[in-house]
């Protein structure tokens, strides 16, 4: 029982990180038809921004702020202006391929600059265990879960309770009409890119202490976020949350109870089952697109 609870909480924590990254992924898709295959590398990179700032002698917390700021600038603003805007004029597919190229470029650049080794990364959550229902549970997992949940709740409040949030939703649901009623559509799309940059920076901060800072960590994370988004429903924020949590839990439990060797196959198995039987995802709606 104690083992199960720990696995469940660890799974939820991993899943919450997947969810945070998957939400950004679906937001970009919804507002601008951007499928960002570099999303995993976007999670890998902020940790290196933070490490670089720490190497310059900044204290951890300040380095975190610098890392978030650089993420907003590079992974939000520059990503949109330099890569997405020009490529999207040629269509969704050229853009998707360009983001694959970006993924490789980012990975190899980090390998060049920082070596292929894994670098340790400080945790924002203190180590140790806390008592939950008489069972010692990892503080790290609980902390990650709480922070990720708070971030998702905050984002949800922004999207559902504020005028800017409504304008962003309107832009995602019907960009032509959004323009007609006077919503600054371009600015709303930029906001989603900045939100995505913020989310990947947060994901980076939460996941790197566990996986360590390594040029290749994005591969697993990007794949997990992609699967979480599809499993939950590509066009829904709550779908990404559900998909992320489900994937994290299934992943952890399967590793413990089924086979650690087949662990990596489990998310893919889940993906295939969902695509076969519920292609719009668990919470997604069927989308009609005019060509």
């Amino acid at each position: 029982m104690s083992n199960f609870l720990n696995l469940l909480i660890a799974g939820l924590a991993t899943g919450a990180i997947y969810a945070v990254v998957a939400i950004g992924f679906t937001l970009l898709w919804q507002t601008s038809q951007t499928i960002n295959f570099a999303q995993g590398e976007f999670v890998m990179l902020p940790a290196f921004f933070m490490l670089a700032a720490m190497n310059l002698g900044l204290p951890f917390m300040l380095a975190v702020l610098v890392g978030i700021g650089l993420s907003l600038l590079v992974l939000g603003l520059l990503f949109k202006r330099v890569l997405v805007d020009p490529m999207l004029r040629h269509g969704v597919l050229p853009l998707a391929i360009a983001t694959m190229a970006l993924s490789i470029a980012l990975k190899e650049s980090v390998k060049e600059l920082y070596s292929a080794e894994a670098h340790p990364f400080p945790s924002v959550v203190p180590a140790g265990n806390v008592d939950v229902l008489g069972v010692p549970v990892s503080m790290q997992s609980l902390g990650v879960l709480v922070i990720a949940v708070l971030a998702v709740v905050a984002l949800n409040l922004l999207l559902t309770r504020t005028s800017v949030g409504h304008q962003m939703q309107a832009t995602a649901q019907n960009p032509t009409v959004a323009r007609i009623v006077g919503i600054p559509v371009e600015r709303m799309i930029l906001y989603t890119f900045l939100i995505n940059a913020g989310l990947v920076a947060l994901g980076s901060l939460l996941v790197t202490p566990i996986y360590l800072a390594k040029f290749s960590t994005g591969e697993i994370l990007g794949q997990a976020a992609f699967i979480a988004a599809i499993v939950g429903g590509f066009n829904q924020v709550r779908g990404a949350v559900a998909g992320g949590l489900l994937l994290g839990v299934v992943d952890n439990l399967a590793a413990a109870y089924v086979s650690a060797q087949y662990r990596a196959a489990v998310p893919l198995f889940l993906l295939i089952v969902i695509i076969l039987f519920r292609p719009q995802g668990l919470l997604g709606r069927v989308e009609e697109r005019t060509v």
Partner: protein, 243 residues
């Protein structure tokens, strides 16, 4: 014609290499309903897109209340007092009815302070929308969605309403109701430019009619004279006026 709110002069435009508007010219009279009719592909909806800044005009000019607004972006036209209700369904399906309506005020920014009051007044005028204010807009019927679009467009107190095919997909009763709203607006001094397939019913409530064919203005006249013009039947039955 009495005072003119909108002057469209020799506009040329289209999609890509295709030219749809071929030197289209017409005026829209103040406080009146003007209906554009014409066969499919005549450029009626395209003219609306050109006026509302959604389609680039290659040459010619559009003036609103004496000011040049050729190729002005939608946001500026909204601020100037034009609103556009396009053809078909133009709602944000997953937002509530109330939030859909509120988004009609976005272009005003903070310059209009009594927006909450205006939204309440609009909901009072359309009890169906008030009853369903907190439901997802996708749950509204076609006619209710059209009402929502009109209400949303009216929040900024436009001087000119461009409305494209308001009757499409609506039951005859809803069509009469929608036309009734347009007549109320005219009574309040709002100018209306409408495109309508349902030419006869539209002309019956209109003051002026414009006949477009192949992107050019063929006839501009009082609506009742167009209604009784034998050439109109001929135009809609094919054959064309130029022949």
């Amino acid at each position: 014609m009495n005072d003119i709110v909108l002057e469209v002069r020799d506009i040329v435009g289209g999609y890509g290499p295709m030219t749809i508007l071929n030197g289209t010219s017409f005026d829209v009279a103040k406080g009146a309903i003007t209906t554009i009719i014409g066969p499919n592909g005549a450029g009626k909806s395209t003219a609306f897109k050109a006026i509302f800044g959604l389609l680039k005009v290659r040459s010619g000019s559009i003036r609103f209340l004496g000011r040049d607004v050729t190729n002005a972006p939608p946001r500026r036209l909204l601020e100037a007092g034009i609103c556009y209700v396009p053809q078909g369904r133009n709602i944000f399906p997953e937002l509530s009815v109330r939030h859909n309506i509120e988004l009609g005020a976005v272009a005003a920014g903070r310059s209009i302070t009594d927006m909450p009051r205006r939204i309440e007044a609009a909901l009072d005028r359309f009890p169906v929308l008030r009853r369903k204010a907190n439901q997802q807009a996708s749950t509204l019927s076609g006619g209710e969605q059209k009402q929502l679009e009109i209400v949303r467009g009216l929040l900024l107190d436009p001087k000119l309403v461009l409305i494209d095919e308001p009757s499409i997909g609506l039951s005859p009763m809803m069509v009469q109701e929608t036309f009734g709203i347009l007549k109320d607006l005219r009574a309040r001094g709002v100018s209306i430019l409408m495109v309508e397939q349902n030419a006869r019913s539209a002309l019956e409530i209109s003051d002026y009619g414009i006949v477009l064919e192949l992107g050019q203005t063929r006839i501009v006249d009082k609506a009742d004279r167009i209604l009784h013009d034998p050439r109109i039947g001929q135009l809609f039955l094919g054959g064309g006026l130029a022949a």
